[in-house]
């Protein structure tokens, strides 16, 4: 008798293969057409395409990805039909088989049928690799890698499918909930961070959302396979999650009652968790959608309300298996009441919003307007370093306090909108992180001393993270109509150049930093490997210009007065620009014909115009730069405060 009741039962395996074999077959055919057959087409002897792919995922990746997402779930759903069909449940559980053996028998046979096509195709490709001598295109290692990653994603999704299958008694619900579960970790994190940002002024949503959120969910990471591999930590984590889900499935199966079949949620106690969980998530989704799209308090509240109602009834419909559930409003009313109370009390929880750490508690503070420097693959050495001196901390805290005090007036779109990300490191090891978008012009008196301080400049500008002698190569490109480009590789010269730019930045004024100038050129400093620093060169960088002049490189690196034959300047209000279709020739003609237009030909004045102009042409004065060598003019503009004196004089008299 024991042999009959052992783990492997031939007839059960046969029964499973009869019900799910087709999924395996379809997967095999799909992969066979994508890989070995496609390779025979590409690399057939008559005409060998130069089609070098040392990553097997690049063959029809979208289709491979769709298979990887769909096949394991489909398999899990059809496999667990024995648990989701009433009559079948009764039969299978009246047999002299323990639940463990049923579980292992089914899931392992399913796994076999899931992996069989992958292994078979990998073998076929390996054979082809030998026979057709495909070593120039990819190696055996690439085949193992392909098979390994494909298996990894298949089994994690498969185990999620099995896990969900144990929690529900309906196959359709199993399919849908599996995808929801797979997206859940990334989804709920996104929802919570974004909603916290809506609810709490200063909550650094973007800062948190830059942390590899997509890696939290297999479905959102698969795309990486096309270009990249995964770290062993990630692989290990995925395999561990797979194993945990698998063992949890067994545990749940042993607790599951057979009568749970045809119930949307197999465990009565989970029903309310499901119901209010769905309500909560859809509420957050509604709040996020309307909050982000409309950015208005009323709409956000509307989003929460609509989300709550939709989520509640949707969950109720799934649980009751009918759409006629609109009478079941008791739970909705209680939920609504609880969250209204919570929402109303949020404004009173101002401790979070008003908190600016005390001077004596702060060890250091980072202030930056660019939260993307905190994304995961940003090189650590380029991240801004904290300001630790008392005066800087004091200045940053003052700015922070002022922003908090002006909570109401910071809203709205302003041309000087600036992100302000504060990261305080406290002496007790904690961190206080806040993020705001503020109209910078409102805070000039606070920003100016910070931005102009040497400590701040050294802390945030990437160029200061480079020791001049580390730089290997520098390139400079001009951004004008005439392309100019120089590369400097001599190490002594590179060192001098980097030092010159560092000096320029230390001397730069706040006004120069914030004026959206038509920057004449940009610079890249390469430091070996893939590491480089990019920066815009401002007209105020005189040390740089002097250095280039001395080397007789200035005219090869940037647009200079000699490149321009003349400039026409007029008042924007006189010319009347249509910002949606700007034709530089037309504007040039209008300028030529307008009596008030000033024509500049003096080289010194041209240089001054070059230094002062901005690309943002919706400013007070519009200028058309005519190059010596080009037929079309280039349009720029001057802000009233930044226009050269002679232009202001001309128009104001």
């Amino acid at each position: 008798m024991p042999s009959k009741i052992s783990l492997f039962n031939k007839e059960i395996a046969l029964q499973i293969s009869r019900s799910i074999g087709w999924v395996s077959l379809v997967y095999f055919l799909g992969l066979a057409f994508i890989l070995p057959i496609r390779m025979m087409m590409y690399y057939g002897e008559e005409y060998r395409f130069i089609h070098q792919e040392n990553n097997l995922f690049r063959y029809d990746f979208p289709i491979q990805m769709i298979f990887m997402i769909i096949v394991p779930v489909l398999l899990a759903v059809f496999l667990l039909r024995f648990l989701q069909v009433k009559l079948s449940v009764d039969l299978m559980h009246s047999l002299p088989l323990k639940r463990e053996s049923l579980f292992f028998q089914y899931t392992l046979t399913g796994l076999f049928f899931l992996l069989l096509p992958i292994v078979a195709v990998a073998l076929l490709v390996a054979v082809l690799h030998g026979v057709m001598d495909l070593d120039t295109y990819f190696g055996l290692k690439d085949i193992y890698g392909w098979a390994g990653y494909t298996i990894m994603f298949n089994i994690i999704i498969y185990s999620a499918g099995i896990f969900v299958g144990m929690l529900t008694g309906i196959s359709a619900v199993q399919g849908v909930l599996t995808y929801i579960l797979l997206l859940f970790p990334a989804g709920i994190t996104l929802l919570i961070f974004v909603n916290m940002g809506t609810l709490f002024y200063g909550f650094p949503s973007d800062y948190f959302l830059n942390r590899e959120l997509e890696k939290m969910s297999p479905l959102t990471t698969i795309y990486i396979l096309e270009h990249n591999s995964f770290s062993w930590t990630t692989i290990g984590t995925y395999l561990a999650i797979t194993l945990v889900l698998y063992l949890l499935s067994l545990w749940i199966y042993k607790k599951r009652k057979t009568e749970a079949v045809t119930q949307a949620i197999a465990f009565p106690k989970l029903k309310s968790i499901f119901k209010y969980g769905v309500t909560f998530c859809v509420m957050l989704l509604g709040g996020m959608y309307f909050g982000e799209v409309q950015n208005h308090y009323g709409w956000t509240v509307f989003g929460y309300a609509v989300g709550t109602i939709i989520g509640y009834f949707a969950a109720e419909m799934v649980l009751e298996k009918t759409w006629r559930v609109f009478g079941h409003i008791k739970g909705l009313i209680i939920y609504g009441a609880v969250f209204t109370v919570l929402a109303v009390s949020v404004p009173f929880l101002t401790g979070y919003e008003n908190r600016v750490p005390d001077q004596e508690d702060v060890k250091g503070v980072i202030l930056t307007n660019n939260h993307s420097v905190f994304i995961h693959n940003y090189e650590d050495i380029f991240k801004p370093s904290p300001l630790t001196d008392e005066q800087s901390i004091q200045q940053v805290r003052e700015l922070h306090k002022q922003i908090v005090a002006n909570k109401r007036s910071n809203n709205g779109i302003s041309p000087s909108s600036e992100t302000a990300l504060f990261i305080y490191e406290l002496k007790d090891g904690n961190k206080v992180i806040r993020e705001y978008v503020v109209p910078r012009d409102l805070y000039t008196q606070h920003y100016k001393p910070i931005y102009e301080s040497e400590k701040y400049k050294r802390a945030v500008n990437e160029i200061f993270k480079v020791k001049p002698h580390q730089a290997e190569k520098v390139t400079i490109q001009s951004h004008g109509m005439v392309p100019k480009h120089i590369t400097i590789t001599d190490s002594a010269e590179v060192e001098e150049l980097v030092a010159a730019v560092q000096k320029d930045i230390l001397e730069e004024s706040y006004e120069s930093m914030v004026y959206r100038q038509g920057n004449s050129a940009s610079m890249e400093i390469y430091m070996g490997g893939n590491s480089f620093v990019y920066l815009e060169l401002k007209p105020s960088y005189n040390n740089l210009k002097e250095w280039l002049e001395r080397k007789d490189l200035l005219h090869r690196a940037m647009v200079i007065a000699d490149d321009i034959s003349y400039i026409l300047v007029g008042k924007e209000s006189d010319i009347g620009l249509d910002p949606y279709s700007i034709d530089s020739r037309q504007v040039h003609e209008k300028l030529e014909n307008h009596p008030n237009t000033i024509k500049i030909t003096d080289k010194a004045r041209i240089q001054e115009c070059l230094d002062r102009a901005t690309w943002n042409i919706e400013e007070t004065y519009i200028a058309s730069f005519m190059y010596e060598t080009e037929e079309s003019p280039e349009l720029k503009a001057f802000h009233r405060d930044h226009a050269p004196e002679f232009i202001k004089k001309h128009f104001e008299e």
């Binding site: 009959k4 009764d90 559980h93 009246s94 057979t258 009565p268």
Partner: protein, 300 residues
């Protein structure tokens, strides 16, 4: 006792399916479980088949709990009210499946029963009519040589000839190898000729459990008539469960030993005296009345 259920209750979420059931079945007996739809018959069978797990009490076979007990389940076969077969399977494939699962499977039995049922074993079962599918279920079940056969409404959809055939086969196995059968039905008449024990279940409760031989010998229908007045002493002695008067003829249902009753009545010199047979259904109707249940709610 072969099957023993003690103080057992089972609920499906908020619905109490069976409550505080005590039931015992001896080895080699055929036990009929009678009740209307939704009374809890199927629940009891599925608990005995190890499909459900009770909330309270014990469900034992050979004094061992059934749930997840594979050695016991190997000896138990459950035929549900709607027999289930794997899709696209032939009788032969299903037989191969059961052969692989049940240690008692008997190939010879399968062959001889296939002949008895005139079963085309190489045809797909889902192409069969409902009645033939049920016969296939019997064929497979009996081939596993179970000690206990659990049958849920087994006669549904079978014509009288097949019914007879099935009953004979079942009784044969009971006689031959002391197989025990627990059979459920909403219709007493359908199974009364084969059961030796009957349990009546109503709204999740087992109302009564009786051995049929006892029942039949214990209760009688009597027609008597007297010249003139009925002697009071007789009526006192008989203490009828039920009394009807049709003119001067009285129809009584009385309990007691047949011979004693006859003697008593003859002593009172009745003009007419007949001892009439009772159908099982009548017996139950009067027994239930005795317990205070209106019978129409229980039988269809």
């Amino acid at each position: 006792m072969m099957i023993q259920i003690n103080n057992m209750s089972k609920a499906f979420e908020s619905l109490q399916a069976v409550e505080d059931i005590n039931l015992s079945v001896r080895k080699g007996s055929i036990y009929g479980l009678i009740g209307s739809n939704g009374a809890g018959k199927t629940t009891i069978l599925k608990l005995l088949a190890g499909i459900y797990r009770q909330d309270k009490g014990d469900v034992t076979i050979y004094e061992q709990p059934v749930y997840e007990n594979i050695n016991l389940k190997d000896k138990v076969f459950f035929i549900p009210d709607q027999p289930f077969f794997f899709s696209q399977y032939t009788v032969k494939q299903m037989a191969a499946f059961y052969k692989n699962i049940y240690s008692g499977w008997n190939d010879k039995r399968f062959e001889s029963l296939s002949e008895v049922f005139e079963m085309s074993i190489n045809k797909k079962i889902h192409t069969f009519s409902k009645g033939v599918q049920r016969q296939a279920a019997f064929l497979l079940a009996l081939s596993t040589m179970p000690d206990i056969l659990l049958l849920d409404e087994p006669m549904d959809g079978l014509d009288p000839v097949v019914r007879k055939k099935v009953k004979n086969l079942l009784i044969h196995d009971v006689a031959e190898r002391e197989m025990t059968i627990l059979i459920s039905s909403h219709n007493l008449r359908e199974i009364e000729d084969m059961c030796d024990h009957i349990g009546i279940i109503h709204k999740g409760k087992l109302l009564m459990e009786k051995e049929l031989d006892d029942l039949k010998s214990d209760i009688h229908k009597i027609q008597i008539a007297y010249k003139g007045k009925v002697p009071e002493s007789v009526m006192e002695q008989l203490n009828p469960v039920h009394l009807e008067k049709r003119g001067s003829v009285m129809l009584c249902i009385v309990r007691g030993n047949e011979e004693e009753l006859t003697a008593k009545i003859r002593n009172s010199n009745p003009v007419i005296f007949d001892l009439l047979p009772l159908t099982l259904e009548e017996i139950f109707i009067y027994e239930m009345e005795d317990l205070g249940y209106a019978i129409k709610n229980i039988f269809i």
